[in-house]
């Protein structure tokens, strides 16, 4: 952990937007200075990365997350040395192997054996090193019987296995992985993950680009979140992933909000109907905040059973909504309510203290309100939360609609919203293999 394996400082990457404009001028500048991009006007370029700086400690596993088009793959190509930054510097210490596309450069007409040799040499192996690791490559790919057949006869799974096997046996100091694991079947993916874990144990530096946030939280030491080419978050995987998920939910929110600013203004002035159940119809759900603030919700935290703030939960966990409220003057008519909504605005659940017969006595100054949802029984998805303090007649003090969200992640891709606690049983002529015991994903890692 002494010197970092990758150091990026103020990296900027611009691409030409119009590939064939002003070609002669570009040719001239290319010949004279070698800088095709620097001479182009700003409207002719597209900035893929803007001022990105980070360090990857030697032996650590680093993930880059972000939406499509956020510059993740561009960054990976820069680290791999396939393209160079327009500005800024990027230094990588050690041999790099990039799994950007498995089996890139395989020639379909020649045998797997020769392709392995050529591919390995392209990735920088010498002939001697190849001889040493050739058997390991073929065994890893499980292709011993087919290695002398032309690659064009391989199935796509075999092709990928061979490509991965070669890339991983180049014995890199720094391994770059771009979403390649998303394409294999489960057994292959698991094998690859095992191999990657082995490399981690051996102290190799790994840089991931992935959409699999579960993987990020499970395997990575450090995360960089890119948003439209800029660094949006950096650091502890759990925190950054939570921020990212909050942002993704917020993106929908902003979309909804921008759809009708007028409607939002209207909602602000009109006394809102208080019970979240009333807003159950999809489409009627617009995030916002309104109320007189006589009782103010100052802070909202979503925490797990260990009181740690989280935004990702797995089914069965306990989610506690913790509200810090403040009443400047004593109030004796108050109700606290919550509502859960699916991403499409469907009301999942709503309740309040009045419905459950809690009688308000008095609230003054600082207070904390906690609602624990034990054994979260929801299917995978993003859920928005309504939080409200209002009078018993519905007049709002502070109504937070859809400003908070959490995500449920699950291995089981069941559908709907609600997941009742359930079990299957079979008797008579029905014979089924039980699922492999694998449990839910461990998100809290502790």
């Amino acid at each position: 952990m002494t010197t970092p394996a990758i150091v990026a400082q103020g990296v900027v990457k611009r691409y030409r937007r119009f590939a064939h404009k002003n070609q002669l001028r570009t040719l001239k500048s290319a010949l004279l200075t070698g800088s095709v991009l620097a001479d182009l006007a700003p409207e002719e370029t597209f900035t893929a990365l803007e001022d990105v700086s980070f360090e990857v400690a030697r032996g650590s596993t680093f993930a880059v997350i972000g939406e499509n088009g956020s510059g993740k793959s561009t960054l990976l190509k820069l680290v791999a040395g396939i393209t160079r930054p327009t500005r800024g510097s990027l230094a990588v210490d050690g041999r790099v192997s990039a799994l950007i596309e498995l089996g890139a450069g395989f020639h379909p007409e020649i045998s797997g054996r020769e392709n392995v040799a050529i591919n390995a040499m392209m990735l920088g192996l010498t002939r001697k090193q190849l001889e040493r690791s050739y058997d390991a490559i073929v065994d890893f790919a499980e292709l011993r019987d087919f290695i002398d057949a032309p690659v064009k006869t391989y199935s796509s799974g075999m092709y990928m296995r061979l490509g991965f096997a070669v890339a991983i046996h180049v014995d890199p100091d720094v391994l770059l992985i771009d979403e390649v694991l998303a394409v294999g079947d489960e057994a292959f993916t698991r094998k690859c993950l095992d191999k990657i874990s082995e490399l981690r144990r051996r102290g190799k530096t790994i840089l991931f680009v992935t959409h699999s946030l579960g993987l990020v939280e499970k395997m990575c030491d450090d995360v960089l979140w890119l948003n439209q080419g800029r660094t949006r978050g950096r650091g502890d995987p759990k925190r950054v992933v939570d921020e990212y998920l909050t942002y993704v939910a917020g993106g929908e929110e902003a979309l909804l909000r921008s759809r009708s600013a007028a409607d939002a203004a209207q909602a602000e002035s009109a006394p809102a109907t208080d019970a979240p159940e009333d807003a159950g119809a999809p489409g009627a759900y617009r995030p916002g905040r309104w109320g007189s603030r006589e009782v103010e919700i100052r802070q909202v935290r979503l925490v797990d059973a260990r009181d740690r703030e989280r935004h990702v939960f797995v089914p069965g966990e306990t989610l506690t909504l913790s509200l810090s409220v403040h009443a400047a003057a004593p109030v004796d008519d108050f109700v606290f309510g919550i509502g859960l909504f699916a991403a499409d605005g469907t009301c999942v659940y709503g309740t309040n203290t009045d419905l459950e017969d809690w009688k308000p006595i008095r609230i003054e100054g600082e207070a904390e309100v906690r609602l624990s949802l034990e054994g979260l029984r929801l299917v995978e998805g993003t859920y928005l939360v309504d939080l409200a303090a209002h009078k018993r007649d519905g007049t709002p003090y502070d109504y937070l609609r859809g400003l908070h969200s959490f995500r449920v992640k699950s291995r089981i891709k069941d559908v709907g919203i609600y997941r009742p606690q359930h079990h299957w049983s079979f008797s008579g002529g029905a014979a089924l293999d039980p699922p492999q015991e694998r449990g839910e994903m461990e998100l809290d890692g502790g």
């Binding site: 691409y15 290319a30 890139a104 007409e109």
Partner: protein, 262 residues
Amino acid sequence: MIAAIRSLLRHRPLVESLVSRELKARYRGSVLGFLWSFVNPLLLLLTYTLVFTVILPNRQPDIQPFFLFLFCGILPWTWFQASLSESSGVLIASANLIKKVLFPAEVLPSVCVLANLAHFLLGLPILLLFLAWQGKLAWTAVLLPLPILVQLVLTLGLSLFLSALTVHFRDIQNILSHALHLWFFATPVIYSYAAIAEGTPLRRALRLNPMTHVIVTYQQMLFHGNVDHWRGLFLALLVGVLAFAAGAFLFDRLRDTLAEEV
């Protein structure tokens, strides 16, 4: 230029494997397989022989039998022409590789040139056989490595130049086939350089073409059995070295843009 040579030497095992892959893959699946390397020049020769002995008979006394004279020029010319037309498209065809793998791209045009050199060398014994059969084979044939080297340097340089430039200007691929056609007729392959009178504009124009000197040297070494074109060959070497330097320079300049433009 030194850097380009060093890079190619460092990646020699890769270049070797790619050349052998190129040779194997080309005829994979065909009935004759490797024999095509011999059959191809024979068929080419047959065509030209038909044209120039039956349709447009050439009766110049110093280049008889004409089909053999043709053979001496066409074989190296085919190497030159195929190398250039293949390497102009090679980077685009390997876009996948250039975009996804950190990979010394100059290897690709070099492989085009070397694979075609291999075809040339495979065709050469057939030519020598025919020469021996016609009693034309002379000791000068042992000097062949010299024009081959000159042609190699020249072709490599032009290949590097064209391959990198074609990525930015795809038009080159279209122009090139016509340019090579013209270049073929501007090189004394199907006619004799010696027959064009000294001092004429045509002769002067031909002298500017480095391939003229290379081809004439081949013809002298193989067909005529006496070599006196050293000055021309040396000039061609100079042009070749210049072309190589220019090609390596351009390739290096455009290297960073290749992954973005292919």
